[in-house]
């Protein structure tokens, strides 16, 4: 009985949180188009997020390209289909692995950072101080960060994909003496707009989700250092879950129309 009432409470809280997140999201769009625009802070956030995450994304992308190629090669060799490797790897990376892995890395790197930063600003009354000084903290802190992640994740995915393909080429080159131009010629022949377009569009949604959840968790952080920890942690957990949901919806829609 106690367990079922606890379950009911958890479900209720879950839906309340969904509602609050939806309201937070609608407020973002309201504030996005109203003056004053915080361009300087937006550029600073874009630089911080892009610059600080680039190294991690490049290394991860490179390793994924290597691993994917190394592990797939024996299976393709059994069928004598090694020549399909660039096509298979490129489609896998561009359509699915590149965007989702990069987004997950950024959820951990950027989402938790935003949650912790805004959380500690809330706890130490810095957000209140901003409000008192006549600055709209939602606009200054939330709108700029959500916009920055929405714009930067697609760029990071592009770099991550490129490095993954380069990693894959490296394995192919060492194993089969495939030239750079031949490998990438096959890659570009395999990839079509119908692969690129949905994959690129969904990265904007990934970026939006990372920024929105991180900001939401931090902005409404509960008091105390424990609250900051919870904000950072739950930002990653919720965002990761949301990324897979968005990915599923994107794949579902792509499957219907393309």
């Amino acid at each position: 009985m106690v367990q079922s009432s606890q379950l009911a409470l958890n479900i209720k809280n879950f839906f309340i949180e969904i509602g609050e997140l939806a309201y937070f999201s609608s407020r973002f769009f309201r504030e996005l188009f109203s003056k004053p625009f915080e361009f300087k802070e937006l550029l600073r956030q874009c630089y911080n997020m892009g610059n600080k995450s680039l190294g991690l994304v490049l290394i991860t992308g490179f390793i994924i390209g290597l691993v994917l190629t190394i592990q797939t090669r024996p299976t393709l060799e059994q069928f004598g289909a090694e020549s399909w490797m660039p096509s298979m790897v490129s489609i896998s990376i561009v359509r699915e692995i590149g965007p989702i892995i990069t987004a997950l890395i950024c959820a951990g790197r950027i989402g938790s950072g935003i949650g912790a930063e805004l959380g500690s600003m809330r706890v130490t009354e810095q957000i209140d101080a901003m409000e008192v000084s006549g600055t709209n903290p939602f606009k200054y802190l939330v709108v700029t960060r959500v916009l920055a992640t929405t714009l930067m994740i697609p760029i990071l995915v592009f770099f991550g994909d490129t490095m993954a393909l380069y990693g894959s080429f490296l394995v192919e080159n060492l194993n089969g003496d495939v030239s750079f131009f031949l490998y990438f010629d096959k890659v570009f022949h395999a990839i079509e707009y119908s692969d690129l377009l949905p994959a690129t569009i969904k990265t904007f949604f990934f970026g939006y989700a990372i920024g929105l959840v991180g900001c939401y968790k931090g902005y409404y952080c509960e008091k105390g250092t424990v609250g900051v920890g919870i904000a950072a942690n739950s930002a990653v957990v919720y965002t990761s879950m949301l990324l897979f949901i968005i990915d599923f919806i994107a794949v579902f829609i792509t499957d219907i129309f393309i």
């Binding site: 500690s120 130490t124 810095q126 000084s133």
Partner: protein, 258 residues
């Protein structure tokens, strides 16, 4: 009790204007009635100290005043304007006339001291001359708190007392007519506390501000208060000057001065 003490409260002549007025302010959190009909009048150029036990609602009252917490009912008039009827733009404009010194200083820890002080100026350029050179304002405010040399330091490089002074400088940068102090000496050693109190007195003289000071510190109250209010059970339990309250026969009042 209130009537008894108010008979010996110093009378301000009719030329002195009331700059801030709270009438019948009520605020509760769930079943906890924090403010239960609190009243207050702050006159121009006056230092009014509010004392009360921890959790008595002092900070809630001051946050209602600045719009960080919405009161359940009651009237708050600042410089003749009822704040509950103002729109956001009007309220932001009014807020620029009110400085707020937060208990924990609330300096923006990702910004230097200079940037902290420049921040409130961003949206209030109309209050200053054209071709605003913010450096002059920043340097003036820092000189007044004796910390010009700290202009390019980060908040993490400052001591507790320095942080409080910088926060005070940030409060002064918009040249407010009213300054609200939330526990200005809490967490500071006795010597630094005295320095901060002296600084508050100097600022009041130099900027001709009216001050509302929330404190537990009896020494602070003794030095700075023109008038005091004890906030007990959500109401202004007793009101008068320091000596009057110190010599009160009421047990609840005496407890503060032991």
């Amino acid at each position: 009790m209130l009537e008894e003490i108010s008979n010996i409260t110093p009378k301000f002549n009719s030329e002195i204007k009331t700059i801030l007025e709270i009438k019948n302010l009520k605020k509760s959190f769930g079943n906890n009635q924090v403010l239960n009909g609190f009243n207050l009048e702050l006159n121009e150029g006056e230092n009014l100290v509010i004392m009360g036990k921890s959790g008595s609602g002092k900070s809630v009252m001051i946050k209602c005043l600045i719009g960080l917490i919405e009161p359940d009912s009651g009237s708050i008039r600042v410089m003749g304007q009822e704040i509950t009827t103002l729109n956001q733009t009007q309220f932001d404009k009014l807020r620029s006339e009110i400085g707020f010194l937060f208990q924990g200083s609330a300096l923006y820890d990702s910004m230097t001291v200079r940037e902290n002080l420049e921040f409130p100026l961003r949206h209030h350029k109309e209050r200053f001359e054209k071709n605003l050179d913010t450096t002059a304002f920043v340097e003036e405010a820092l000189t007044n708190v004796g910390l010009l040399h700290a202009i390019d330091l980060m908040p993490s490089e400052l001591s507790g007392g320095m942080k409080r002074r910088i926060a005070l400088a940030r409060t002064l940068i918009l040249k407010p007519k009213i300054i609200l102090y939330d526990e200005p000496t809490s967490g500071l050693d006795p010597i630094t506390s005295k320095e901060i109190i002296q600084l508050m007195k100097n600022i009041q003289k130099q900027y001709k501000t009216s001050s509302l000071i929330i404190t537990h510190d009896v020494d602070c109250a003794r030095v700075i208060a023109n008038r005091m209010i004890l906030l007990i059970d959500g109401i202004n339990y007793v009101e008068g000057n320091y000596d009057t309250l110190k010599n009160s026969s009421d047990e609840k009042v005496k407890a503060f001065f032991k």
